[in-house]
């Protein structure tokens, strides 16, 4: 009950912050539209497939989740600097109430963002005369959920561990890493070497490949990618909860 009351408050804070619309909804859709224009401008002999709408839509939906991470980090770190949190620490709220209270609205934000992204992608594909399959988009949507928890977890972790000023900076590093080695803007397979090895060691590349799978990826990577997305999502979220709980205990010690 306390967690849902806190979640409702966090949700209101998000809905009333214009940054959430700009970063979490506007930016991914804008990227989708721009990259679709780039795709239509590329000659077929260039053989660049990452910007085709069936490859781009799930990748941008994944990339958009990094902004949910950023928003989570900003919200948690900002709350930590205010006296409101002090007031709440003096209330009967427990660490789990805070964690659920942050997670629920951030997940709603992430789910709404993914839905908006796929809707925009569907409209683009309609304009291109090759509409995306709705069941495939729905499956891709579901396969992105573990990654949503990964990014909410990372956001909560950064928001808890570092200051309001440092948290967005750390998130920018992750956003850049996801863009570069997640295979969103370039095909990591064509690069190879240390870039590919690094990409394969991190969950981002697997998460993007997993999301692309229903819209035309290779099925043989499904088990490894799904396992990676699930394990990284769960582990990161557990780590965030642990760090948040420890921080709260330290704050009131």
């Amino acid at each position: 009950m306390k967690s849902t009351v806190f979640a409702a408050r966090t949700g209101k804070e998000i809905r009333r912050d214009p940054l959430s619309y700009i970063l979490c909804l506007g930016f991914p859709i804008m990227m989708l539209l721009i990259m679709s224009i780039v795709d239509s401008s590329l000659p077929p002999e260039a053989e660049v497939t990452v910007f085709h709408i069936r490859s781009l839509a799930p990748a941008i939906a994944y990339f958009g989740l990094t902004f949910v991470m950023l928003f989570t980090a900003i919200q948690v770190s900002k709350d930590r600097t205010t006296a409101l949190l002090l007031r709440l620490y003096a209330s009967p709220m427990r660490a789990a109430d805070y964690v659920v209270g942050y997670t629920l609205p951030m997940c709603v934000l992430g789910l709404a963002q993914m839905a908006a992204c796929f809707l925009a992608a569907f409209l683009v594909s309609l304009c291109q005369g090759d509409p995306l399959s709705i069941p495939a988009m729905l499956l891709s949507y579901l396969l992105l959920i573990p990654s949503l928890f990964l990014f909410v977890g990372v956001g909560m972790l950064f928001g808890t561990a570092v200051s309001e000023k440092s948290a967005p900076g750390l998130c920018s590093i992750i956003i850049s890493a996801v863009g570069m080695i997640g295979g969103i803007w370039m095909d990591v397979n064509t690069i190879g070497g240390i870039i590919r090895k690094t990409a394969e060691m991190l969950p981002f590349y697997h998460g993007v490949r997993l999301a692309r799978l229903p819209l035309g990826g290779a099925m043989d990577t499904l088990p490894a990618d799904l396992l990676c997305a699930l394990v990284s999502g769960v582990l990161c979220y557990i780590l965030a909860v642990t760090v948040f709980t420890a921080r709260m205990k330290k704050d009131i010690s």
């Binding site: 306390k2 209101k12 002090l86 007031r87």
Partner: protein, 239 residues
């Protein structure tokens, strides 16, 4: 009058620094009790321990008979705090802030929020976002948010800090209306505030409680008339 707060050898250390040095004190039910002291005297640390925001290094305190070390959850329900900084959710309206805190404590949100809106005269600003309100209104709301949970003990940590004289007077009036209804622990740097509002005043210096009593008792003890002179003579005497 019953004892609302009984503090026994309460001590708080931060590494090598001792913020509160074995505090012993009793506060009666319905009393307004002020802590005075220069910065770093241990006033806020004491309040933090009494509200469960900080764990004592040694000693204990009982709030309405419940130990802060053994029954922290009960103690958290018995008291509430209006912290030094205005503790409100800035993007929420006045009504939503009140409902939020009422919900956290398991109260009927709509009903209790309406009661506080009527009691504090928030009707005209009920739907305004708190960040658009003046400092005085925000501080008043912060106190209302502490009172909405019907605490037995209210902790006001420098409630009028940074407010203009009119807003301060208005808050004094709010605090006076609570006199004898609930126990209030007040910390302040404003001598006239402590003198105007409090039944008893305690002076802390570097973590030690130097004296506590009514204005008359403090006057007799120091031979000074004004609280500011009393305070200066005590603090200077220690230094």
């Amino acid at each position: 009058m019953n004892t609302a707060i009984r503090i026994k050898n309460l001590r708080k250390e931060f590494g090598a620094k001792t913020a509160v040095k074995g505090l012993n004190l009793e506060v009666r039910e319905g009393e307004i009790f002020a802590f005075l002291g220069v910065n770093g005297a241990g006033k806020t640390t004491t309040i933090r321990m009494l509200t469960g925001l900080s764990v004592p290094t040694a000693g204990d305190a009982e709030i309405m008979g419940h130990s802060i070390t053994k029954e922290p959850d009960t103690v958290k329900i018995l008291g509430n705090i209006s912290p030094q900084e205005t503790a409100v959710a800035p993007n929420l309206t006045v009504k939503e802030n009140l409902e939020f805190i009422a919900g956290i404590y398991g109260f009927d949100r709509a009903k209790t929020a309406e009661e506080m809106i009527a009691r504090f005269g928030f009707d005209e600003i009920r739907n305004e976002k708190v960040k658009t309100l003046s400092g005085g209104w925000q501080r008043k709301l912060s106190i209302a948010m502490a009172l909405i949970t019907e605490p037995k003990v209210l902790y006001l940590d420098e409630p009028t800090l940074g407010l203009d004289v009119l807003a301060r007077r208005e808050l004094w009036h709010v605090i006076e209306t609570l006199h004898h209804k609930i126990t209030i622990i007040l910390t302040t740097h404003y001598m006239e505030e402590a003198e105007e509002l409090s039944d008893r005043i305690a002076i802390m210096v570097r973590g030690d409680l130097i004296c506590a009593g009514t204005m008359e008792e403090l006057r007799r003890q120091t031979g000074k008339e004004k609280l500011e002179d009393i305070f200066v003579s005590i603090v200077e005497g220690i230094r």
